[in-house]
């Protein structure tokens, strides 16, 4: 048993690792790998990945909507898979590869094709859900779940748009899925 989560960086832990004495872990030192940068920070156990990104790393592109995994505004990629950052503890994200909306653009600063498609299709109104929609859409295309408008709607169901820009969001994802990678 280890109380210190730096172990998360070199998983798996040895099965016969010694049992640590249980004690209060008021703060925990972790390293988060976000958009290919490493950040060392001290968090308390209940800090979510979402709050760490926004409040500690000032990566405020990832939005906080419901904080209950129900709206998808905080969608990021973890080891290439889309997840709700509000449902991941920062301490459990240590050592994982996190990609946020800020990490989506190319090395030359060019927007990702899906970002371009959202602009071209006017796939937003207020824009609050947009970073989550785009991160989820990128994963949806990569997973091969963007074969038709129906399939896109089904596989984008974890992202809510209160302005109701759904038809244009579906169109933007469909455009990029058809163009291919």
């Amino acid at each position: 048993m280890r109380e210190h989560p730096e172990a998360a960086n070199d998983r798996p832990v040895e099965p016969d690792a010694p049992t640590a004495v249980l004690g209060p872990a008021e703060t925990i030192d972790i390293t988060l790998t976000v958009n290919q940068h490493s950040y060392a920070l001290e968090v308390d156990a209940r800090t979510t990945l979402l709050d760490a990104l926004r409040d500690r790393l000032q990566l405020t592109g990832t939005k906080k909507g419901c904080a209950l995994g129900q709206c998808g505004a905080c969608t990021v990629l973890m080891d290439g898979k889309r997840v709700n950052a509000c449902l991941v503890l920062a301490v459990m994200a240590a050592g994982r590869r996190i990609t946020t909306i800020e990490g989506l653009q190319g090395a030359d600063g060019a927007l990702h094709p899906l970002q371009e498609a959202f602009i071209a299709n006017d796939a937003f109104q207020c824009g609050y859900c947009t970073p989550g929609q785009i991160m989820s859409g990128v994963a949806c295309i990569e997973e091969g779940h963007a074969g038709s408008a129906d399939e896109i709607r089904r596989w984008m169901s974890g992202n809510i748009c209160r302005c109701g820009a759904y038809s244009n969001i579906v169109q933007a994802i469909d455009d990029v899925a058809r163009e291919g990678p």
Binding site: P5, A8, R11, V13, A25, L68, V83, L87, E143, G158
Partner: protein
Amino acid sequence: MLRYLQAGSLANAAEAIQAHATAEIVAGGTDLLQRLEENVLPPALLVDITAVEELRGIEVDGAMVRLGALARLSEVIDDPVMQTDFPVIVEALSATASPQVRNLATVGGNPLQKTRCLYFRDRTSPCNKREPGTGCSALGGRNRLNAILGGSERCIATHASDFAVAMAAVDATVVVGSAEGERTLPFTELHRLPGDTPEKETNLEPGEIIKGYVLQRSALARRSHYLKVRDRAEFEWAIASAAVALDLDDDERIDGARVAVGGVATKPWRLAQVEAALEGRKAEPGVFAAAAALSAEGAVPHGDNAFKLELLPRTVGRALHELKEQV
């Protein structure tokens, strides 16, 4: 102050939760983090088991499939053997939550998720499950989501898992580990009825952890289907669901039938009387309808959820019909 421990082994994790009454295992965290956010039975100590190697993976071993507790829902959905041999499980998981949640949530944690009863999730309401002895607000309250089967005077909270309904239908076995060793129990015996102690939801002993499941590959499980009825097409809890499996002989006579239902009961619910009405008979619409009509036998409605008396038999009937059509 919430404390966090990373378990290096199953024994370490078991010791930690046995020694601390307010400790909880965390893996996918999708239900636990909602409870932390809303202060609903928040644990004081989190024991992270995601580094415990022996709990990972999906392993096919001849006539058996072993699901490790840490397998993510999306991992099981994408597994080719699960797709061909256990469609009811893959369909139930595909109808669960959202793609983002399915990438996090684990099969070990899913059957242990807490109910979505409005009053359990609302700390300001009396709830016998959250705070024993305070009363049940759902009885006589807003109980559209609540159970018509398996309830008591203390609690009518529905068990929310789709996966658990499918697992009950295919006679899965639960493998449980503790500091002392390992034991198995039938999946249908994992959960308890609320009775007088709705706060005690499973037959796991203190210090016991779900290590995984054993599934038997069979003709029955291969011809199986999950139908989920809900208020919107995706990302919603069941108001009724049915997991069905049929073993048919060459003349389409039913050699074996399994029917389990969700969204209507306080635990994953097998319908023995429906199974009995199917077995030995021909797989045809009249037989399905007659058997499905028995689904709500013994059900107790509570106002808002009375519509389930009719919805449940229809759901079971349609699930059987769709399964037959697929073949």
